[in-house]
């Protein structure tokens, strides 16, 4: 009996040590401050407590689809030309349906050849419809391909945002898919106050692209449209020039560019800022990936003496004449501001956002407001726990000590678990811990009331304790399992904070089973061993 008791005591002691380690880790010293530091390293405080920025962004995945079909338009044109098949145009008929590409103006005689050419190259990614009788075929991106592309776009956006946020040097940033809606990203940056800086960094779509110039510069959009014959054809687009930083000259110039980029954002391997040694102008030196380099060489060698435009952030930065074929590196001399040049190289290194982003939610909590919340939460917790413990002592006398020890251990295990699991403690989380104490005491009350009943029925202390635990155990199992069942469902159905709530709740209940039943029973057994025969237990 006694040996058994010692073993159990050792087990409890080990559990206590493990979870105390969970809360504090190994503090660097024994002063109050170093212990607090160690604790804050183990238990992560939520944004509402430590201050920070919380954003939910939506990725406009349709843009990535549109870019992909833009490329397809270019490839189809190329393929049909190579095969000497005539057509009037390849275009995207409906801007609201970026997944559809239409080939028009095929002579009926060629219809079957065109069909087999398209089938050969595009049937993996596209559903091809039309008979060619009316001279047209329609390519629609397959839903599976489209959703895979959309998923990839979101992942890419997450990667890019992560890389960019890393340059801020924020500790423990959260950048992840937000489970509630499609294509949504959650960004949490603890300790950051300056929302504007974060937003401009994340949202910078500074995609660097090189497009072929069809015409321009024109004075305004109307003039550009007139020169294009009334309206801009679907495979071209109007882009404004950016103001020359030095002279401000061509700020409102409008260019007509081929919609499909010769070099797109993902083709750049690197870009470095520099200065032109002759003119002192700011320059950007870029290198392309091998594949893009071959493509670029191909294009530039065929189009010597035409113009191409460097576009960044939706504005033409520079228009250059192709003097000779270029392969994989070059220099852009344009109207860049100093900030643009500096951030451009950083952004190119971290990769371009595959699509633009939209803000669905933003929250910032100032650090001092967070500190207030901590103070209030902790005050409420301390008062709550003391009131419960005090009451148990008064109501159950000697056994109250038993319950209070169990409660204390319950609290240690719960906090230690938060330290181990890396769960985040938020203000509602503190409230949850307080409630766990209030409800955790329920198991003790159930057992003690049962023991009192047995004592009243005239049982000896040992028997009363045994029966009391036995009867209460059935009830405790039922109440705990029911709550765990509902927590498990919350975990499956819920997301984010609801999931966290479910995990903490479940663990709190398991810890409660251990402390209120196992530990409390052990304390009673130990007490029984020291009781003189005939002496009643204090309950």
């Amino acid at each position: 009996m006694n040996k058994n008791l010692n073993q159990k005591l050792a087990l409890i002691f080990v559990v206590l040590l493990v979870f105390i380690y969970g809360i504090f880790g190994v503090p660097s010293g024994v002063t109050g401050k170093s212990i607090m530091d160690a604790m804050s390293k183990r238990i992560h405080l939520g944004l509402d407590l430590r201050g920070g920025v919380h954003l939910i962004l939506k990725v406009n995945v349709q843009e990535a689809v549109s870019t992909e079909t833009d490329n397809t338009v270019g490839r189809v044109q190329q393929d049909l030309k190579t095969a000497n098949l005539t057509f009037t145009q390849v275009y995207k008929p409906d801007p609201s349906k970026p997944e559809t590409v239409k080939v028009q103006g095929i002579s009926p005689a060629n219809a079957s050849t065109v069909r087999s050419t398209l089938d050969n190259k595009y049937s993996n990614e596209y559903d091809i419809s039309g008979t060619g009788a009316d001279g047209s075929f329609t390519l629609t991106m397959k839903p599976t391909i489209e959703s895979a592309l959309e998923e990839k776009t979101v992942q890419q956006a997450i990667e890019t945002i992560r890389d960019r946020v890393d340059t801020l040097g924020v500790s423990e940033p959260v950048i992840d898919e937000y489970g509630l809606g499609k294509y949504e990203i959650l960004v949490e940056l603890p300790g950051v106050d300056d929302l504007d800086r974060v937003k401009s960094l994340i949202q910078n779509t500074a995609r660097l692209e090189i497009h072929a110039v069809v015409g321009g510069p024109y004075k305004d959009e109307a003039e550009a449209a007139t020169s294009a014959g009334g309206s801009v054809p679907p495979d071209e687009e109007m882009v404004h020039g950016s103001g020359n930083m030095a002279t401000g000259s061509d700020a409102d110039a409008v260019y007509l560019l081929r919609r499909v980029a010769v070099v797109s954002g993902t083709d750049f391997r690197s870009a470095d800022p520099g200065t032109d040694s002759n003119t002192g102008q700011r320059t950007v030196h870029f290198t392309l990936t091998n594949e893009a380099g071959d493509k670029f060489y191909d294009y530039t060698s065929k189009n010597v003496n035409t113009s191409m435009a460097v576009v960044m952030g939706g504005r033409v930065k520079e228009v250059a004449n192709i003097e000779s074929a270029i392969r994989d590196s070059g220099e852009i001399r344009g109207s860049f501001s100093q900030d643009e040049v500096a951030s451009l190289s950083k952004l190119l290194r971290t990769g371009a956002l595959p699509a633009s982003l939209e803000y669905l939610e933003d929250r910032t909590v100032g650090a001092s407001l967070g500190a207030d919340s901590i103070r209030e939460g902790v005050t409420a917790a301390v008062v709550g726990v003391l009131v419960v413990m005090g009451f148990m002592l008064i109501y159950y006398r000697g056994s109250g000590i038993n319950a209070d020890l169990a409660l204390f251990l319950n609290l240690v295990i719960l906090l230690g678990f938060m330290g181990f699991s890396g769960a985040t403690l938020t203000l509602p989380g503190i409230a949850g811990v307080i409630l766990t104490i209030g409800m955790g005491v329920d198991s003790n009350v159930l057992i003690f009331e049962r023991i009192r009943e047995e004592v009243r029925a005239g049982k000896a202390p040992a028997a009363a304790i045994d029966q009391g635990f036995g009867h209460a155990w059935v009830t405790i199992i039922d109440t705990h399992v029911t709550t765990i069942v509902s927590a498990a469902i919350l975990f499956v159905v819920g997301s984010g904070p609801v999931k966290g709530f479910a995990v903490t709740l479940t663990f709190g209940l398991l810890a409660n089973l251990f402390t209120a039943v196992y530990v409390s029973r052990l304390i009673f057994d130990w007490h029984l061993g020291r009781l003189k025969s005939g002496e009643p237990i204090s309950i």
Partner: protein, 323 residues
């Protein structure tokens, strides 16, 4: 110290009073929700988490003057801003400025910028970036959260019903779930009646309440099951009464202690937790009441209804408890 020793109250005699009480509060809540729904399109006042919109909380360095702030907002052309002083125990000098919901997401950040710049340019009381809290929520996210929260509560109720069906009998599960639903309805009704906003933390409180009330009910049911097995000749109403009385001391103690901790939250936890603790203050009282006054009488009512139909009269003692 001991309360409720040897109490012998005939709870079931009070069942009509209980029914009236429950109906009064549920119906009042439901009517208020219906009125709100027809006027505002939402049965309960929703917090910024669900409704969408912008809330800016600013901690000023000196005591703020609400009227001066209102003038600052007007001067900057911000209309319909709701301004309330937001003093909590720890953080004095706080003001909450809320702007009405935005209809689309592209405007989401403009509210914050407008408010902060209006305060900087038209109001002299200084504040720092670390004393500003902003919640700007677009309508999409709010809607998604609302759907999810509702579904989570309903599905978890269903899960508990299945577990109780398996451990006791279907009627026990139904009675418990009805009782818990009753608690949730009345608590949400209280929010509608008092005009308090339901936020994400209030949903967390309601989830907690569901678990808590279920606990209370199961403790009583467990006693009923045990007593039914021990004394098969006693009538069901007697067993139910005796079981409630036997567990009364535990019920009152646990509720009382949990109530005290929640009260401490309500008093010391600050403004942010006010909604959370309000939900629990109401919920714990109702939850305790419902396990005595709703769940247990439902078992008896069901048995009497079966008897009147000439069906199997005895409520079986359920399965033997295994543990």
């Amino acid at each position: 110290m001991e309360l409720f020793r040897g109490v012998n109250i005939d709870w079931l005699r009070l069942k009509w009073a209980f029914l009236g009480f429950s109906l009064l509060f549920s119906v009042a809540g439901v009517i208020k929700m219906a009125v709100l729904f027809s006027t505002t399109g939402s049965p309960v006042p929703l917090g910024v988490d669900f409704r969408g919109g912008t809330e800016v909380k600013v901690q000023f360095q000196q005591a703020p003057d609400i009227n001066a702030i209102r003038q600052a907002m007007d001067a900057a052309g911000i209309r319909d801003a709701k301004i309330q002083s937001y003093n909590s125990t720890a953080g004095a000098n706080q003001v909450l400025i809320s702007l009405p919901e935005e209809q689309n997401e592209s405007q989401i950040d403009s509210g914050r910028q407008q408010v902060v710049s209006a305060l900087h340019s038209h109001y002299t009381n200084p504040f720092t970036d670390s004393g500003v809290q902003v919640d700007a929520v677009g309508p999409t996210v709010g809607k998604q959260l609302e759907t999810q929260a509702g579904r989570a509560i309903l599905v978890s109720l269903l899960g508990m019903l299945v577990y109780l069906w398996f451990r006791f009998q279907l009627i026990y599960g139904v009675a418990a779930v009805v009782a818990v639903f009753h608690d949730t309805l009345i608590t949400v009704g209280f929010f509608a009646l008092t005009g308090q906003e339901i936020s994400l933390t209030v949903i967390a409180a309601i989830l907690t309440l569901v678990g808590y009330s279920m606990n209370d009910t199961i403790v009583v049911f467990d006693r009923i099951r045990e007593n039914l097995r021990l004394s098969r000749r006693e009538s069901l109403p007697d067993v139910v009464n005796r079981s409630i009385n036997q567990t009364l001391s535990r019920t009152v103690l646990t509720s009382g202690l949990t109530f005290l901790t929640v009260l401490s939250l309500y008093i010391f936890g600050g403004q942010v937790l006010r909604g959370f603790s309000f939900a629990l203050v109401v919920g714990i009282l109702i939850g305790t009441y419902s396990s005595i006054a709703v769940a247990a009488p439902m078992l008896v009512a069901w048995q009497q209804w079966r008897a009147s139909k000439g069906k199997d009269v005895v409520l079986p003692a359920a399965k033997r408890p295994r543990a």
